[in-house]
């Protein structure tokens, strides 16, 4: 490859020898597309006709009044086709796949959002598609599995390891080392070996570019703080990308605090000091691992944040202190989500709601002249089972029991 892909001491490309020519090809395609204004034009055109770009900014008037502090604005990535920012990255990589002349795509997925987005793209572009998903996630995100299969994708439940996102990534790599000649691996977040972190962040930067312009147009000022949840880090990199040059804008990444501190209880790589620097899944970053370097169990109510590593670019921004990292616990997240649903009629995904939870902690202490911007990375349709469980909704349970009985009789 032309570049090493390091950000500070993080990143790199720790890839098996068999993939070296594949990464050379991918980097070349990425650098060429990045240097070609026609690519970005085609990408924007596609996203404005197939998805819902530019996604709007919503002023959350009721939440603003409720907290009585900073004015709260929300970037509506949930209005993308398939309901999350994942569509941006996927459609962009779909265009690259076409450029490289490949006919098949594979992807890992945690929450299933990235899997659904990839299956959609494959259906539209006529690619064969296989999605790897941890068996634990298949169990908790059935609606997304259903749609992937409807779109013609093969969904493989991965039983190895902790049967979550990291194991799905390993399995996707095992497919890729076999089928690289006709297959592109559409990695779903700003992680993995270079050029993925850079390429995914570039494609997601469409969020921040739009948001900065929209904020200036709507409010005549820049937000003083931007919030985004951080799983692998792609929606955060996307939003923050619009504001890196604006020193007055604080950037806040919010990780999954799960049940709270203590390894195994959460998926917090940067905000707590449970993670250490290591190399896995092809890149160097902070991982939740033991002293031997074995990856440890993680926990989050949201499948999409339940991951041992984090974008090497965010790890570098953490060290340079350009981005501040915080954690929100499962309980705080469910509460923030319910409040947002009730007050604004918006339905942030559980992943997304981590950003909301942290913003809600800080907004009341800020002045009314200040503005904050939260990235609503996705909507919670997929989370209906998990949320219904979390709030213990009796009518939902009744419905499911009745439905199950119907199926049993049939």
């Amino acid at each position: 490859m032309k570049y090493s892909g390091y950000h500070g001491r993080f990143g790199g490309a720790f890839i098996p020898e068999i993939l070296v020519p594949t990464f050379d090809e991918l980097e070349a395609a990425y650098l060429e597309a990045k240097a070609d204004p026609a690519f970005w034009q085609e990408y924007e055109q596609l996203m404005s006709t197939y998805s819902c770009r530019a996604t709007p900014i919503t002023y959350a008037e009721n939440l603003t009044k409720y907290f009585g502090g900073a004015q709260i604005y929300i970037k509506r990535e949930d209005l993308n086709h398939t309901g999350a920012h994942k569509a941006n990255n996927v459609m962009g990589q779909g265009l690259l796949t076409k450029r490289m002349g490949k006919k098949r795509v594979i992807a890992e997925t945690g929450a299933g959002q990235h899997g659904v987005a990839t299956a959609t793209m494959a259906a539209k572009f006529g690619f064969d598609c296989t999605i790897y998903m941890g068996a634990v996630d298949v169990a908790r995100q059935r609606p997304n599995v259903f749609w992937m299969e409807q779109m013609g994708a093969t969904v493989v439940a991965v039983e190895d390891g902790s049967a979550t996102l990291k194991d799905a990534i390993n399995e996707a790599f095992r497919d890729w080392v076999t089928n690289m000649d006709d297959t592109h691996y559409v990695l779903g977040t700003a992680c993995g070996p270079y050029p993925f972190p850079d390429m995914v962040s570039w494609l997601q930067s469409i969020i921040g570019k739009e948001a900065r312009e929209q904020m200036l147009e709507r409010t005549g000022q820049l937000p003083s703080r931007c919030y985004a949840c951080v799983g692998g880090g792609s929606n955060a990199m996307g939003l923050f990308g619009g504001f890196f040059e604006d020193e007055s804008v604080q950037l806040v990444g919010v990780e999954a605090g799960g049940h709270g501190r203590g390894i195994g209880q959460h998926a917090v790589r940067l905000a707590y000091d449970d993670a250490t620097v290591g190399v896995a899944q092809g890149y160097k970053t902070y991982f939740l691992q033991n002293t031997d370097g074995q990856m440890q169990e993680t926990h989050s109510v949201s499948a999409g944040l339940d991951y041992v590593g984090v974008s090497p670019i965010l790890a570098a921004l953490h060290e340079s202190k350009r981005v501040r990292f915080e954690a929100a616990t499962d309980a705080e997240v469910v509460e923030a989500m319910q409040l947002t649903v009730r007050k604004e009629g918006l339905i942030p995904a559980l992943e997304t709601s981590h950003g909301f939870a942290q913003a809600f902690k800080e907004a009341p202490e800020m002045s009314k002249d200040e503005i904050i911007l939260i990235n609503q990375s996705g909507r919670a349709d997929k989370d209906i089972f998990t949320v219904a469980d979390a709030i213990d909704d009796p009518k939902w349970k009744e419905f499911i029991i009745r439905k199950a009985e119907e199926y049993k009789r049939a």
């Binding site: 068999i18 095992r174 080392v177 002293t291 370097g293």
Partner: protein, 254 residues
């Protein structure tokens, strides 16, 4: 030195055999017993894999062995301890196979120095291309240990030569795309690829991935110096027990 050992041994035999085990699978006592069986059956050198939780380049059999070993309590300390016992007791060269994070977590220099002091002669680290391996390669050199790199059917000639320059002992050529433990077609095409490997390095060639029978060994003879058997011995052990490993190896080298 590994290279001279291989060369000398090749004077006596037209094909050497390298086998592989995952340390601590199913437990450390059995690891020792399997090594004993393999050495007695006439294996020429061995890879000892230190288990890792994310063995990205391994197929289902070795992946499962890694996970079970860790579950059963295999740590890096214990792996090094057992490796030292092995190198003391058995008079063939032993190599480590593991993923880079195992070295990185311990400190690359420290890990490599320990390799030297416990009598390990080289290492295969499949997720560490030489571009990322500066510290590792320097430490290996300082300790006169053999860093072994991998050739694949996708590797261009120029890169083969670069990899050869960074390697010592031998080159590990994989017979096909994919991960360990799947079937391989031993065909003329493979012969062409091995000829290309041979032309790009002066080091001995080992051929692995999917080798599991005497017929495979017969094909490899003349194309490579060393045949590598990995997943198949784990399958034999899982199916028929530790005691069956010796008999299986004997059928390969007969």
């Amino acid at each position: 030195m590994l290279k001279s050992y291989i060369r000398a041994r090749r004077q006596q035999k037209d094909l050497l055999l390298m086998t592989h085990i995952v340390l601590g699978y199913p437990n450390f006592d059995d690891s020792l017993r399997v090594v004993e069986q393999m050495v007695e059956a006439g294996v020429d050198l061995m890879e000892l894999q230190i288990p890792f939780s994310e063995p990205m380049a391994d197929g289902p059999v070795i992946l499962h062995a890694n996970a079970e070993a860790i579950k059963a309590g295999a740590t890096v300390d214990k792996s090094l301890e057992i490796a030292e016992q092995i190198t003391r007791r058995f008079d063939i060269p032993f190599l480590f196979m593991t993923y880079f994070n195992i070295l990185y977590a311990r400190g690359v220099d420290k890990f490599v120095d320990e390799m030297k002091s416990i009598g390990i002669q080289g290492a295969i680290v499949p997720d560490l291309p030489p571009e990322e391996g500066e510290e590792y390669l320097a430490a290996m050199k300082r300790n006169a240990l053999s860093p072994i790199h991998i050739y694949t059917p996708n590797t261009p000639d120029a890169r083969m030569r670069q990899l050869s320059d960074q390697s010592d002992g031998f080159i590990y050529t994989v017979a096909r795309k994919g991960v360990t433990g799947k079937d391989t077609q031993f065909s003329d095409e493979l012969g062409d690829y091995l000829a290309r490997c041979r032309a790009s390095t002066d080091l001995p060639l080992a051929l692995g991935f999917g080798v599991k029978s005497k017929a495979d060994m017969d094909f490899i003879r003349g194309h490579a110096d060393i045949a590598v058997v990995g997943s198949e011995t784990i399958r034999v052990m899982e199916r028929e027990g530790v005691e069956a490993v010796k008999g299986f190896i004997q059928t390969l080298v007969a």
